[in-house]
């Protein structure tokens, strides 16, 4: 079982650089062909400073600095019993290649369902850019099957 004493736990902040090559690789992997997501000039003519990160790429950037498997194991979880239950993003400003983002994450809730058969772990991450601008929030709900 995963202890509820982890609720409120803050993770050490970390920085991640947004790289153009990585964004192009991600675009290829998800079948994105709009030139805006791979070509600097197209991105700039659409009003971006550089190639923008597609909506879900923040999840990948966060993974670079903090793999949930690591802290979940530390919390007592077994990797093969973890499911990704829910995911959300709130967007406040664009994220583009060349940005350096800072991730501040904390555990917002841990609760059981189905008489303890499953434990839900919620984490929220505030993301700011190199100008200190709050660009996004990332929320993840991970599920540990205890049974």
């Amino acid at each position: 079982m995963i202890s509820k004493t982890h609720i409120g736990r803050q993770f050490a902040p970390f920085h991640v650089d947004v790289e153009a090559g990585r964004l192009r690789f991600f675009a290829k992997a998800i079948g994105e062909t709009n030139p805006l997501y791979v070509d600097l000039k197209s991105a700039q003519s659409a009003g971006y400073a550089n190639i923008p990160a597609p909506p879900t790429f923040l999840f990948s950037l966060e993974l670079e600095g903090c793999d949930p498997m690591q802290w979940l194991i530390e919390f007592g979880a077994e990797p093969a019993r973890i499911l990704h239950g829910e995911q959300s993003f709130e967007y406040f400003a664009p994220v583009c290649a060349g940005d350096r983002l800072t991730f501040n994450a904390s555990i917002t809730d841990i609760y059981d369902k189905k008489n303890g058969a499953m434990t839900f772990i919620q984490r929220q991450t505030h993301v700011t850019n190199q100008q200190g601008q709050h660009v996004a929030n990332i929320n993840a709900t991970l599920v540990h099957r205890n049974g």
Partner: protein
């Protein structure tokens, strides 16, 4: 058709057409090809999600799965494409999903969305859109919502 000197066609289209959308209207759907092992290997590398359950059949079998299966976040990325094919990305205020079922090899993901509400928030006109990623058999894999600024 893509010229760097012109404004993106979809921006003008979106700005022009969003105001006319009503509750119940559908977004242009996005249909993907069948998920194969290459899709998952590429997504693992590009996304940084190296969980072997998605790329290593031996690991998957040890975890009592018949085979590897798709990353949930791959289909969420497809839902992101559904939205950005339709509106400029800056219009997306939020996106939230629930992963309701595993997406298997051979599944052809179909992303759909429907306007479910028009609302005002802090002086902004917004649309709430329901999101669904299903396979070719109509089985829902991801359900969710997005808030879009009009």
């Amino acid at each position: 058709m893509w010229q760097t000197s012109m404004r993106p066609w979809y921006t003008e289209m979106a700005e022009h057409s969003l105001h006319h959308l009503q509750v119940g209207d559908s977004l242009p759907p996005l249909s993907l090809g069948a998920i194969n092992r290459t899709t998952l290997a590429l997504y693992a590398g590009a996304s940084g999600d190296h969980n072997p359950i998605h790329i290593d059949i031996d690991y998957a079998r040890k975890a009592r799965m018949p085979d590897v299966f798709a990353h949930g976040m791959l289909s969420m990325a497809y839902l992101g494409r559904l939205l950005t094919n339709w509106v400029a990305q800056q219009k997306i205020r939020s996106m939230q999903v629930r992963f309701v079922d595993i997406t298997h090899l051979g599944n052809q993901v179909i992303c759909t969305g429907t306007v479910i509400e028009r609302l005002e928030q802090n002086g902004h006109s917004l649309m709430r859109v329901s999101l669904k990623a299903a396979n070719q058999f109509g089985e829902a894999k991801i359900l969710g919502e997005a808030l879009i600024e009009i």
